[in-house]
């Protein structure tokens, strides 16, 4: 018996009791990984009393005997919603279904210390500003450089009014800040994102908001604007003491999930800075804060990938989790694969490998698999591996030696940037800025 077996075994045993219990049964897996059973009430109600009580006894006996240390003892095994009325607990519609008999289901309620945000749903209604999240599983894949190049490109690119775009860049990689200093050098504002989270917990966030933004000199000579909100500023001082408090799920009015706090920060910055485009440089890997940037911002997400085993293994964990996401249809078409540091040698073969890996990732989890002769659902997403318009189809950023020690504020490298990013920027304009049809 291990963590994986315990849930499967408990699900089988609970399914066998569904017809006698006549209700949805929830397996509650606590922070230690131990399992309990959540039912509506200890009372049989309109159900035959003996049948109901016998089913409870039998279930308790079998679960405790089979799961051992992975279950609670008999007298503590059952939890009842009637005793937990103050909590908002999931329903069969909002929880992963482990087993079903067609009428009732066995569902999972997983108590997680971290990581629950990867199950969150995106906000309904589009944000007023176009938002883009840059996300990677591993560091060093050119995420911050891409944010820099993209903001430079957008500030130069004319809108319908003839002016360049107003870009707002947020450095959300609080554990490993980067894009703020890349774009601003030493000319940082007084405060950064880490300061806001600490001040906001005490209701003082608005006070520092105007001092959290500085303009990058990369905007010079353009009619656009590159406003940057770094992770820290010149007066941040105790960075670690602030970082250690930044993820508090508490705002000025009491408990508030972290993604909701970030949502509020971004909306307040947008109201202050009036950007056309917001770039969110996310933290690396499967952290809750990355989930907030990917799912809670209503953003299109650029998923950076190099064709390595580690990258695909990590993406597979995430996409497999999303396979059972009750609301995956709301965000799957806003995920865009991006092939970073594509080598100059054997480019085509490398690219095809990357594309096929990405395709299998999307196909096995978030794409619909419509069989021949079957009527596809109205919002079906069913691309072929080679379909350039597919979300999986990697947009290539070519590796270029000229960008290895790229310091854009010292010397902008026009030729290497164009050589590396030309194709990607063209695609970005056409598809994500909605200035033309898909490639």
């Amino acid at each position: 018996m291990n963590f994986n077996d315990a849930l499967n075994r408990a699900a089988d045993l609970a399914k066998a009791c569904l017809s006698a219990l006549q209700e949805d049964v929830f397996l509650v897996r606590d922070l230690n990984g131990r399992i309990r059973i959540l039912l509506d009430s200890p009372e049989a109600g309109t159900r035959p009393k003996t049948v109901f009580q016998d089913a409870l006894k039998e279930l308790a006996r079998d679960v405790v005997a089979s799961l051992g240390t992975y279950a609670y003892p008999k007298k503590e095994l059952f939890l009842f919603r009637s005793d937990l009325a103050t909590l908002s607990l999931p329903t069969a519609e909002s929880a992963p279904v482990l087993r079903t008999d067609g009428t009732h289901s066995v569902c999972l309620h997983d108590r997680l210390l971290m990581g629950a945000e990867w199950s969150a749903s995106p906000p309904t209604g589009a944000p007023l500003t176009k938002r883009f999240t840059l996300f990677s599983m591993k560091g060093g894949v050119g995420r911050s450089t891409t944010a820099t190049v993209l903001s430079w490109h957008l500030a130069r690119k004319a809108k319908a009014t003839g002016d360049g775009h107003r870009v707002l860049v947020l450095d959300l990689d609080l554990e490993s800040p980067g894009v703020g200093t890349t774009l601003l050098g030493p000319s940082l504002p007084k405060f950064g994102i880490v300061d806001w989270f600490v001040e906001d917990a005490l209701g003082e966030g608005a006070k520092i908001l105007p001092d959290m933004v500085a303009e990058s000199s990369l905007q010079d000579g353009t009619s656009g604007r590159i406003a940057v909100v770094p992770a820290f500023g010149t007066e941040t001082k105790e960075y670690l003491a602030k970082l250690g408090r930044a993820y508090l799920e508490r705002g000025p009015n009491g408990r508030e999930p972290w993604p909701a706090r970030l949502q509020r920060l971004v909306a307040e910055l947008e109201a202050q800075e009036t950007p056309d485009v917001v770039l969110l440089d996310s933290r690396t890997g499967l952290h809750d804060t990355s989930a907030a940037a990917v799912l809670a911002m209503g953003a299109d997400t650029l998923l950076f990938a190099a064709d390595t085993r580690q990258t695909w293994a990590a993406y597979e964990f995430l996409f497999q989790h999303w396979k059972d996401h009750p609301n995956v249809r709301a965000f799957r078409t806003r995920l865009w694969m991006l092939g970073s540091m594509v080598p100059r040698k054997n480019t085509q073969a490398y690219f095809e490998g990357l594309r096929d890996q990405a395709y299998s990732l999307f196909l096995e989890s978030v794409y619909d698999r419509v069989a021949a002769g079957q009527e596809p659902p109205p919002d079906a997403v069913d691309f072929a591996a080679i379909a350039e318009e597919g979300n999986h189809f990697p947009r290539a950023i070519l590796w270029d030696e000229g960008l290895t020690f790229f310091d854009p504020l010292q010397q902008w490298q026009d030729a290497p940037v164009q050589a590396s990013y030309g194709g990607f920027l063209e695609w970005f304009d056409k598809v994500l800025l909605n200035q033309g049809s898909a490639p």
Partner: protein, 139 residues
Amino acid sequence: MSLDYRDASNRHFMDGEILLNSNRYPNADQLYGLAAECSLKAVMVGLGLQVTNQGAPRDRAHKVHMPELWMAFQSFAEGRLASRYVESLSHLNPFGDWTVDQRYWLSNAINAERTKNHRNAATVCRESLALAVLDGVCR
């Protein structure tokens, strides 16, 4: 006699409800303060508070009633696990106008509004405890 803060939290709260329904505000109010205290102490024990063999807190700072316990709980909580249970508690102490000594006060000293405020605050503490039970942090 060993202590069981979770059981005591339930008892004080349920009895408080009976008294509130009969407009017996002073003793209902007393019980809501005790229910809140027991809920927070149960969570603190789950988070590793050092206790005696009988289950009472070892440190004098934690052997307190409301309103002191509200702040003691916030100072005690540290780290991501504890923050789950402290995040729903307000910085402003809702038991600032409650004392265990009010059991000696005149019967007209405590009104419905004050009792209901303390009931709301006790409910927040009990939600924290319910979360900790669901998480497997409290038994």
